[in-house]
């Protein structure tokens, strides 16, 4: 299950978060845990360099893209490698939406679009679409396969 996707800015403010199956009292812990991970490791990281962490049987993959840090938390079928693939989709869509590596300003400008994309990539803890074209079609309310 994909437990959480978090996007924060460089100082640790959460911009986007999507939790699934995480009780509300644990969300706070996750937030601070992830932000701390980012603060410790992402300072000198290059764009889209993947980082990994784990807690018990939960896997975490995170990266930095421009001014934003992206964290994905998953378990069971979503291990480091699967999360890395999801991460790849998310980063490339954010880049597409922002036209380049996003600054925070740019990210916030495209916030709505990014939300729609995320909504097509996964929901309810299950990864849905990973094909970029398909995601773009779906965010424009077009069916996945067109005639």
């Amino acid at each position: 299950m994909l437990m959480a996707v978090l996007i924060s800015n460089s100082v640790g403010n959460i911009l986007v978060e999507r939790f699934n199956g995480v009780p509300s009292e644990e969300r706070l812990h996750w937030r601070s845990f992830l932000v701390k991970l980012g603060a410790d490791n992402l300072q000198r990281a290059s764009n889209e360099e993947l980082f990994v962490a784990s807690h018990k049987s939960v896997h975490i993959v995170y990266t930095v893209l421009g001014d934003v840090c992206i964290y994905i938390v998953g378990k069971d079928a979503y291990d480091e490698l699967a999360l890395a693939e999801v991460m790849f989709v998310i980063t490339s869509l954010i880049k597409d939406a922002c036209k380049k590596s996003p600054t925070e300003r740019l990210f916030l400008d495209k916030y709505g679009k990014i939300c729609l994309c995320l909504d097509e990539i996964f929901w309810k803890g299950i990864v849905e679409n990973t094909n970029k074209e398909r995601i773009k079609r779906l965010t424009r309310l077009k069916p996945p396969g067109e005639f």
């Binding site: 699934n20 009292e25 309310l141 005639f147």
Partner: protein, 1204 residues
């Protein structure tokens, strides 16, 4: 915080013009939206403060200016007045509040047919609304209106997005996901609103209705919206059965129409270039399966399974993935049904060799379902038997292949399919094929499947078989059939799995990607687990020196046409054991080279990868090889300050798990654990370490436990480095407790070790007073201390060694350690026979009087702390302990005298004399029980000679001897360990053993135990531990939990209490004992626990040497005692912390109190309440009427209540 980054979330939702003053609404908007706008104004303020929005004077001026302008505009253009004018980009941006956005939506919805409104919505309103973390239900009517009237696709897409969010909001705390700017609990706000706000309950049915209608709409032009409507519906929380049943209806309705429709033959890559009808069908199939995947699994439902199986043949790749996922989950539960379902629409896989577009498929006739693609994604080809080939699916999807692997694994390992070896072998063969998958994710999944790590309820045998499979089995590629067009495909030699796996792993370890490294290390760890299981089970044939090629060659000779290059020499070499571990192709050789690569990965800069590598190394460590390398790696790693505490404890738990798998490695593992204690005392949890010790001690068995205890006690040598004892250790042991924090932590560890020693020395040494053969009289003769010590150490060196260590701790440790040491010594004195008891007695005496230091001066090493005037400062503590021993010895003397008198006078014991004796016996038992746990039925404080007399009295007066189940020791399983030489005395007469055991096992579950069990079970939803500076949230706990918690936390409170005579265990056996006594106290020992409500009675200790339950029982059963119904309640523990709820107390609230968690209750000063019970400084109280938050009952701090 916001300013530092330059931009904030608030920036995003800046409006180019501020809202017009409230007065201007009248001209434009409806009353309702005005109300809504005003209603949310407070939120705007709070949001601003949250985000640290600063208002400058300049901004204020601008606002006034803007207000004027927009008011003017409002007059001109009523529609646009309240929305964001997009022609004033250059003005200073000001935040737009949620209220403004909401208002804009209401207004724009009314004019959604206008292009400008649509543009507004798409570019300004909707994207900005997304920043808020939830959506107000009162927006729903407007959204629904937009949904019906608007034509713009992007607007509609947003509308579905927001409708889904309203549906998914659980509403309980207004805490939905989203991030961004926090929003209030809308429902609560609506409730407060006097005018009558809109709550979720009001709008959800309408949303569901509309979405349902759309999802059922079969209009072709509508089908894109249909997909989104269905998707939005799946967002509803699964607790809502009404929506769920509707969804089922819709999904199956769609599938009924589209899943069965015969598909026309079309291009191999279905979706491309197909006709309109089939594409729409495929889209609908996708939507339906995607919704089905989100629905709860319905294992018993044949329709569900049937539809899911059909999904494999769908054209849409995502749909295929979903259906494979569903099926693999179903197969894990009911492999038989799935196999049958797969069989009854006999789909076939085809072997396809492919290069980009040149696809060959060869029908593997019959039911065989195998695909092999040369280093390319699997192409699945399936069809229904009566039809010709129709579709070939091109699955680029990694997750789909992962699911396929899982599916194959479940079916090929299913017991239920034992009579169908053909099916099993087919799926098994597919599984092995997937080993060649280009994606590491798939390959690793297959390795894990082969290793037997599939579900969480793994068993040792499964694991062991997994290792056997991995090392023995051969991947035979399906023979290329003769009609293959692709001649380039070589006939490949069968490959031993292990070789493939090793090659794959080694190449993964060469990767630069951290996820790949981490995953590869994890796979190696799992390999180690299976290998350890194989060792533990004692799979013969585990010989790792055998050349793997010999297996494949054997296989070759069976498949006569494939042995093109078999090497008879190899076989000879392998079978002659000369090259064990040398040859490159032996398992040992391959493992060695793999481990070499793994070890180099320790150099990775990522701490998590390193942790995983160390775990892998721990698991892969063979018991027959030297541990030095592992030790030095761990020691080197621990010097790195970057390691977080949680990760270190995780590694310790791995050691623990490893020990469980191979108990005979106890001593070595303990030594590794000691490195943790010495290197990073501040980071490791004393609980975890103690648990490790205990498991090792108990699990080491009769032969190993002496050594195990030794290994534990070495920790005691740490604090003041003992010149003599340090010589044997390597540099690893250099104590790094230089900073005060870790010095303190180390002290805590030592304390734990001392306590552990006191509690378990008797067990480890198998020395019990009640089994002692030495009559007490003889010991009294040996008052010469030297002789006594000599006699003791010759009789039981283990116990003597422990004694010496404890004696030293009683002097040289810090204050707390000295206390614990004395307590431990007393426990040992009570439990041991002579001469140990006497030795301790003597020691305690000297200690109480001081002046022992000169006697033991060579042991006295100051740790810089003033030892106090009396030498030890322990007088107060020791006095009661000495008194008990005094009484015991006194009574023994008296008894001997009496017996002599009787013998001399040759007279029988009268009943009165016996009664007196018996009373003394009972009194002493009670006294002794205050200090530590002893089995009452066995323990003879008056010495072995009293046994006969007491027996006589008991028989005469029909006093039931407390053996069997009524003995708490028996009932809790402790006795099995104490009397380990005897058969378990459990008598299955009236009680259900399982219940008793389950309850007893519950007692063993300390927090650390839970952690281990969770760790082993792979439970992982727990939030990570964050550092102290982070806020600790209060999870809601039930009263049972809290009660259990007080049990577990008790030692913290007791630590300062010098009179508490025994328990300083982090797991607080003392408190567990309290629970035993409160549960069992009434049954046979009315005198024991109920007659002495002294402070001591709550602080007894018990021997808890039962092995922790390896297979964790259902821990959440609560602490309820299954026996409770039997004993009479009237003997309950009088000062039980709970005040009976039958006898409520009343009181008033002294001060206002605001609840800080779900379980707490807010109070207003003066409010009358009813106190139900007290727990841990909190009262559970009930109010007469519900408070503002609607709660009637909850916890409040004791100090806030004035009890009347």
């Amino acid at each position: 915080m916001a300013d530092s980054s330059g931009t904030t979330l608030m920036d995003l939702i800046t409006a180019d013009a501020p809202p017009p003053p409230a007065a201007s609404y009248s001209s434009s908007s409806s009353v309702s939206s005005t109300v809504a706008g005003q209603q949310y104004q407070p939120q705007q303020v709070s949001t601003k403060t949250t985000l640290g929005e600063k208002k400058s004077k300049r901004a204020a001026l601008l606002q006034i200016q803007n207000d004027t302008i927009s008011a003017a505009k409002a007059a001109l253009n009523p529609v646009r007045a309240n929305i964001i004018p997009y022609n004033s980009q250059k003005r200073k941006k000001k935040p737009v509040s949620y209220a403004q956005l909401a208002r804009s939506i209401h207004e724009l919805a009314a004019t959604s047919d206008q292009k400008s409104s649509q543009k507004q919505l798409v570019h300004h309103v909707f994207p900005k609304l997304a920043v808020y973390n939830s959506v107000d239900p009162s927006l729903a009517p407007s959204l629904l209106m937009l949904n019906q009237q608007c034509e713009d696709r992007t607007v509609l897409r947003y509308v579905y997005y927001y409708l889904a969010r309203i549906l998914s909001d659980n509403g309980s705390q207004g805490l939905s996901q989203g991030g961004g700017i926090p929003t209030p609990n809308w429902d609560a706000l609506a409730d407060i609103d006097a005018v009558g706000g809109v709550t979720r309950a009001d709008v959800v049915p309408r949303i569901v209705n509309q979405l349902t209608t759309e999802a059922m709409n079969t209009d072709v032009e509508f089908h894109a919206r249909r997909l989104q409507a269905l998707k939005a519906l799946t967002y509803a929380p699964s607790s809502n059965t009404e929506i769920l049943s509707k969804l089922y209806e819709i999904v199956f309705d769609i599938l009924n129409k589209v899943a069965d429709v015969p598909q026309k033959k079309k291009g191999l890559f279905g979706a491309k270039g197909g006709d309109k009808e089939s594409i729409i069908r495929s889209n609908l199939q996708y939507a339906a399966l995607s919704a089905l995947r989100r629905l709860p699994l319905d294992p018993g439902n044949p329709a569900f399974l049937h539809r899911a199986v059909q999904g494999i043949s769908f054209a849409d790749p995502v749909a295929v993935r979903h259906s494979l996922e569903i099926i693999s989950e179903l197969a894990a539960r009911d492999p038989y049904a799935v196999a049958v379902a797969l069989g009854c629409c006999p789909w076939r896989y085809f072997l396809i060799g492919t290069d980009s577009h040149h696809v060959n498929f060869i029908e593997a006739s019959g039911t065989l379902a195998v695909v092999h693609v040369l280093c390319r994604p699997i192409y699945l080809c399936c069809d229904f038997i009566k039809r010709a080939l129709q579709d070939v699916l091109h699955l680029h999807d990694v997750l789909a292949r992962v699911s396929l692997a899982k599916l194959c694994h479940s079916i090929s390992r299913a017991r239920a399919l034992d009579e169908r070896p053909d099916i099993k072998s087919q799926f098994n063969s597919v599984l092995y094929q997937l080993l060649l998958d280009p994606s590491e994710r798939v390959c690793f999944e297959v390795i894990l499947c082969i290793l037997g790590r599939y579900d969480k309820t793994e068993r040792t045998e499964e694991r062991a078989t997994g290792w056997y499979r991995l090392t023995r089995e051969i991947l035979k590629l399906p023979e290329a059939p003769s009609n293959s067009k692709d001649k380039s495909q070589k006939t490949r030699r069968p490959q031993p799995l292990i070789k493939l796996v090793m090659r794959r792993l080694e190449s993964s370890f060469r990767s630069f990607s951290r996820p790949v490294l981490h995953a590869a290390a994890r796979v190696v760890q799992e390999m180690g687990k299976s290998r350890a299981a194989a060792f533990a089970v004692g799979l013969q044939d585990i010989d790792e020196g055998v050349n793997v090629n010999s297996f494949s060659d054997t296989a070759d000779s069976v498949d006569s046409d494939m042995n093109d290059d078999s090497h008879p020499e190899d076989i000879r070499k392998a079978t002659s054991m000369s090259n064990v571990g040398r040859g490159k192709d032996t398992i040992a050789g391959m493992l060695a080279s793999l481990m070499e690569v793994v070890r180099t990965t320790v150099a990775c800069e990522c701490i998590y990868v390193r942790a995983m590598v160390i775990k892998a190394l721990i698991w892969m460590q063979s018991p027959y090889e030297s541990f030095d390398e592992l030790k030095s790696i761990i020691a080197a790693e621990l010097s790195d300050p970057a390691w977080p505490a949680t990760l270190l404890n995780d590694v310790l738990l791995t050691l623990h798990a490893r020990f469980k798998a191979t108990p005979h490695m106890a001593v070595t593992l303990l030594e590794i654990a000691r490195i943790f204690a010495t290197k990073v005392p501040g980071k490791i949890d004393a609980d975890v370490l103690q648990l490790l010790w205990k498991t090792c001690l108990v699990g080491a068995g009769p032969d190993g436990k002496h050594t195990a205890l030794e290994a534990v006690t070495i920790v005691l040598d740490l604090p003041p480095p003992q010149p003599g004892s340090m010589s044997g250790f390597t540099s690893v042991d250099m104590v790094s407790a230089s900073d005060p924090k870790s010095a303190l932590a180390l002290q805590r560890l030592v304390q734990a070790a001392v306590w552990f020693l006191g509690e378990n020395a008797n067990y480890a040494a198998s020395e019990y007073a009640w089994e002692s053969a030495t009559p007490p009289g003889t010991a009294l003769m040996m008052l010469d201390a030297d002789k006594m010590v000599a006699a003791a150490s010759s009789r039981n060196p283990t116990l003597a060694g422990a004694l010496t260590r404890l004696q030293r701790c009683a002097f040289s440790g810090s204050w707390e350690i000295r206390i614990v040491a004395v307590q431990a010594l007393t426990t040992m004195a009570i439990r041991s026979g002579e001469p140990f008891r006497l030795q301790i007695y003597e020691f305690l005496h000297t200690l109480a009087q001081g002046g022992m230091q000169s006697q033991l001066s060579e042991m006295h090493l100051s740790n810089g702390e003033d030892q106090g005037a009396s030498g030890t400062g322990l007088g107060v503590l020791i006095t009661p302990m000495i008194k008990v021993l005094d009484e015991m010895y006194g009574a023994q003397d008296d008894l001997i005298k009496e017996i002599r008198n009787h013998d001399n006078a040759k007279k029988e014991w009268t009943d009165d004399e016996l009664k007196k004796l018996y009373e003394t016996h009972e009194r002493l038992l009670d006294l002794v029980s205050l200090f530590c746990y002893v089995p009452r039925a066995k323990y003879l404080p008056l010495g072995p000679i009293s046994a006969k007399l007491i027996d006589i009295y008991r028989t005469r007066h029909n006093i039931s001897v407390s053996t069997g189940l009524s003995d708490p020791a028996v009932a809790t399983g402790i006795s099995e360990l104490i009397y380990e030489s005897k058969p378990a005395p459990v008598q299955p007469d009236t009680l259900d053993d399982d219940l008793v055991n389950a309850w007893a096992a519950n007692l063993g579950d300390g927090p650390a135990m839970n952690r281990v069990n969770e760790f082993l079970a792979g439970a992982g939803t727990d939030a990570p531990d964050v550092d102290e500076e982070n806020i600790i949230s209060r999870p809601s706990v039930s009263y049972d939990d809290m009660w259990a918690k007080t049990l577990l936390e008790a030692p913290e409170l007791e630590e300062d209490d010098v009179r508490s005579s025994g328990s300083s265990s982090p797991e607080s056996t003392g408190s567990v004992e309290t629970s035993i006594s409160s549960h069992f106290g009434g049954m046979n020992y009315p005198s024991l626990f109920s007659s002495k409500p002294s402070t001591y009675s709550s602080s007894q200790t018990s021997i808890r040497e039962e092995p922790p339950p390896y297979s964790s029982p259902d821990r959440y059963n609560s602490f309820e005692n299954p026996l409770a119904g039997r004993g009479s309640q009237s003997f309950g523990f009088p000062d039980d912390e709970r005040v009976s709820s039958g006898n409520p107390q009343f009181g008033t609230a002294l001060y206002d109190f605001t609840a800080g968690g779900d379980d707490e209750l807010s109070l207003t000063a003066g409010e009358e309440i009813e106190v139900e019970y007290e727990v841990d400084g909190w009262f559970y109280v009930k109010k007469k009427r519900p408070g503002r938050d609607g709660k009637m009952a909850g916890l409040v701090p004791v100090l806030y209540v004035n009890q009347s």
